[in-house]
């Protein structure tokens, strides 16, 4: 094995151990001439290809780009890692960071000062989301947060001039909209088992002043504040009937489609969806959707949940100094500045409305023009400052998330009380934490 600098040695050894356990010869070194393998899920494919091409032209470093459907991306990467496929850089979701890091599939990048320097300009929750056991594992690819969006026209018809600022007001206004016969279910929130579920849940809990897990890693998802969040949701379905029980099969995409068909007054959606909702080409309610700060629970704040996807690197990429050098350049080209500007971030925003972690971009004239075309850039920035990272991210996230999702669904369907559901979820967390 070639000389490995200390930060990545442990990861390399871990990967080696994993491979040994699997009975495999581990290929820790990549030949210098081998192109840098870059794996992503199938999103922004053209933008990535174009940006890669300009990187190759500028640096003369060869790359090999592969992608897989997002829904199966994690499984595909796991298979590739255990099978020793040639991957150097990849997109990673914040939710997978601990397990990927523990398994030794991705390596810290702290040693690249030119990369960590970007932290100063990046939203806090975003930086925190890339940290695991005190080490930083990458740079942001895209960042967004759960936004509270409303159909101003429907509110107006129901006689409201201002959007709700608390969840109690949401119930009140929704009930009025329902009573007027404007919509059967004015509130649309997705509670289907899918990757978005934890973000919907976290946004509700955070805005009620709750946490899922405290800083010590102890579950507090069953305490009064978090319970108030679930209770609000359950009441919305069971008591006030302002949210359809079908929400347990409503995914994020369907929330979007329902809103754009004019069948929702209040929705939780990733902020970037505002552009679709206000685009006359594809929305029947273009120009009517607005963003408001996340409503507060009785003891809550306007906090919401933020998430991010980042560029991670594999130990393989750091195996030789030359390769490590090149991978750092590639990561900066995408996650930092390219030729002195945040070119890729701005492209993603312009083409796909994807959010960014770099706070200073909210002051950029191009960016403001793009955002103000379908929303309010200042409000977006204000809400982004109130976003906090998902506190449930842990190596056992995947396993716990299943149980937690089931628990919330059962409460929503009236098959368990909120207290019972949250207790079950917290118990699973404690059990998994103990098992390590």
């Amino acid at each position: 094995m070639p000389t490995v600098r200390s930060p990545s040695r442990r990861s390399v050894l871990q990967l080696g151990a994993a491979s040994a356990a699997l009975g495999l010869p581990f290929i820790g070194r990549a030949r210098a001439a081998e192109p840098l393998g870059f794996a992503t899920w199938s999103a922004a494919v053209d933008q990535v290809k174009a940006h890669l091409a300009s990187f190759e032209k500028k640096t003369g470093v060869a790359t090999a780009y592969t992608n897989a459907p997002y829904a199966q991306y994690r499984e595909t990467m796991i298979t590739k890692f255990t099978g020793g496929a040639p991957v150097d850089m990849l997109w990673v979701s914040d939710a997978w960071l601990p397990e990927f890091a523990q398994a030794g599939w991705i390596a810290p990048i702290d040693r690249f000062k030119q990369l960590t320097a970007y932290n100063a300009e990046t939203s806090d929750f975003c930086n925190q989301s890339m940290m695991f056991e005190g080490k930083q594992y990458g740079l942001t690819y895209y960042t967004d947060y759960m936004g509270f969006l409303y159909n101003a026209e429907i509110l107006e018809k129901a006689g409201f001039t201002k959007p709700p600022t608390t969840w109690a007001e949401v119930t009140e206004q929704a009930a009025a909209i329902k009573a007027k016969g404007l919509l059967e279910y004015p509130v649309v929130i997705g509670m289907a088992q899918e990757s978005w579920m934890i973000e919907f849940i976290s946004a509700l809990v955070f805005s009620h002043g709750g946490r899922m897990v405290d800083d010590a890693g102890k579950p507090v998802m069953q305490d009064a504040k978090a319970e108030a969040a679930l209770q609000w949701l359950v009441d919305a379905v069971q008591k006030d009937k302002i949210l359809s029980p079908g929400c347990v099969q409503t995914g994020e995409l369907e929330v979007l489609k329902t809103a754009s068909a004019g069948r929702a007054a209040f929705v939780l959606l990733p902020k970037y969806r505002l552009r679709v909702l206000n685009d006359p080409q594809q929305s029947q309610v273009a120009g009517k959707f607005k963003q408001a700060l996340m409503p507060m629970g009785a003891n809550g704040t306007h906090a919401t949940v933020g998430w991010m996807r980042f560029y991670g690197v594999t130990p393989r990429a750091l195996a030789t100094p030359d390769r490590a050098d090149n991978i750092a350049k590639l990561m900066e080209w995408f996650g930092g500045k390219a030729e002195g500007e945040y070119r890729f971030q701005k492209t993603l925003l312009k083409d796909l409305a994807l959010g960014f972690g770099i706070k200073s971009l909210y002051g950029d004239a191009d960016v403001r023009r793009d955002l103000n075309a379908y929303g309010d850039a200042d409000l977006m920035a204000q809400q982004q400052d109130l976003a906090r990272k998902k506190d449930t991210i842990a190596p056992w996230f995947g396993e716990w998330n299943d149980t937690n999702g089931t628990a919330w669904q059962q409460a929503v369907l009236g098959k368990a009380t909120p207290a019972q559901a949250l207790k079950a979820s917290a118990a699973k967390w404690t059990e998994l934490k103990k098992a390590g």
Binding site: A21, Q102, Q193, G246, P395, G398, D402
Partner: protein, 301 residues
């Protein structure tokens, strides 16, 4: 033993065995090169506490993974769901396929077109099948709600896959739709193989058409029923695609069947050891089930 016949037998056997070996060689190479390792590997893994999140600790645990799985009530819940899903699937497929086979056994204009159309569901790729049914069951824009509302069966949009009481039957329906055609063809084949004199004998006895069906047709179709029941049960017990594409085990765990559990254990929890153990438990159960089915159906019918 007479020396002559013994010699002939010996000579015959060796040539035949050599011929058989030659004819089987290609197959053996393929299976050895491609399938043998994965099967043995997953068996081997099932004896280790391999969780990819803990790559440094991979102890040999013997049968602990199996014991752990079998002691987990969640696993038994999913076994119950798999049994329920398989039972409704097999029964529905048998009933529908029998009716269709009887229909296609008649001579009438358009029969050929009908039997050609019948194969369409069978040929549809499972990814497209999942996509199609998800879209049909969609609680906002789906065809099912649209249709039922137009004919006045329901007054407002109903939640389909999102209703935990309906989820399994609905997934089963999508599965049955795809499985019925092949089953119908297998049964049709059996039906056509029934000797005509069986019917004439019954007719001489003065049996009505219905009685003839019950006393001649059904018993004579026994091998077909057995084959279809066996095949469908094996398919249903192991079925994964629709659970993955339609519900991901939800809502509230309502479609969390064994095949889905294996997936969650392996790829979500990264617990390859218990995942492999679960797979072997399912495999052994499948074998026992097939054996049981053969035994009981072969006797009863």
């Amino acid at each position: 033993m007479a020396p002559h016949s013994g010699e002939a037998r010996l000579r015959g056997v060796t040539y035949d065995e050599r011929a058989a070996a030659g004819l089987l060689a290609a197959l053996a190479v393929v299976l050895m090169a491609v399938t043998a390792f994965p099967i043995l590997y997953s068996l081997w893994i099932s004896f280790y506490g391999l969780n990819l999140r803990r790559p440094n600790r991979v102890p040999f645990v013997g049968l602990d993974n199996y014991a752990h799985v079998l002691a987990n009530p969640q696993f038994w819940d999913s076994v119950g769901r798999t049994a329920y899903f398989s039972a409704i699937t097999v029964v529905a497929v048998l009933v529908l396929a029998t009716l269709i086979a009887v229909l296609l056994d008649q001579d009438f204009p358009g029969r050929r077109i009908l039997s050609a159309c019948l194969l369409i569901p069978w040929a549809i790729p499972s990814v497209a099948n999942g996509l199609m049914w998800k879209w049909i069951y969609d609680s906002n824009y789906g065809a099912l709600n649209g249709l039922l509302m137009q004919v006045g069966f329901i007054s407002s949009a109903t939640i389909w896959l999102g209703d935990s009481a309906k989820t399994l039957p609905l997934i089963a329906n999508a599965f049955i739709w795809k499985e019925v055609p092949l089953a119908a063809i297998l049964l049709l084949v059996t039906l056509k193989a029934i000797p005509a004199d069986l019917y004439s004998a019954a007719r001489v006895d003065g049996a009505t058409a219905f009685k003839r069906f019950c006393h001649v047709t059904l018993p004579a179709m026994r091998p077909g029923f057995l084959l279809v029941a066996l095949y469908e049960a094996m398919m249903a017990v192991r079925h994964f695609d629709l659970f993955f594409l339609l519900t991901e085990g939800g809502p509230g765990g309502a479609s969390d069947v064994v095949a889905w559990r294996i997936y969650v254990e392996t790829f979500r929890n990264l617990s390859f050891g218990t995942g492999a153990a679960m797979s072997y438990i399912l495999a052994i159960a499948t074998l026992l089930m097939s054996y049981g089915l053969i035994r009981s159906l072969a006797q009863k019918l």
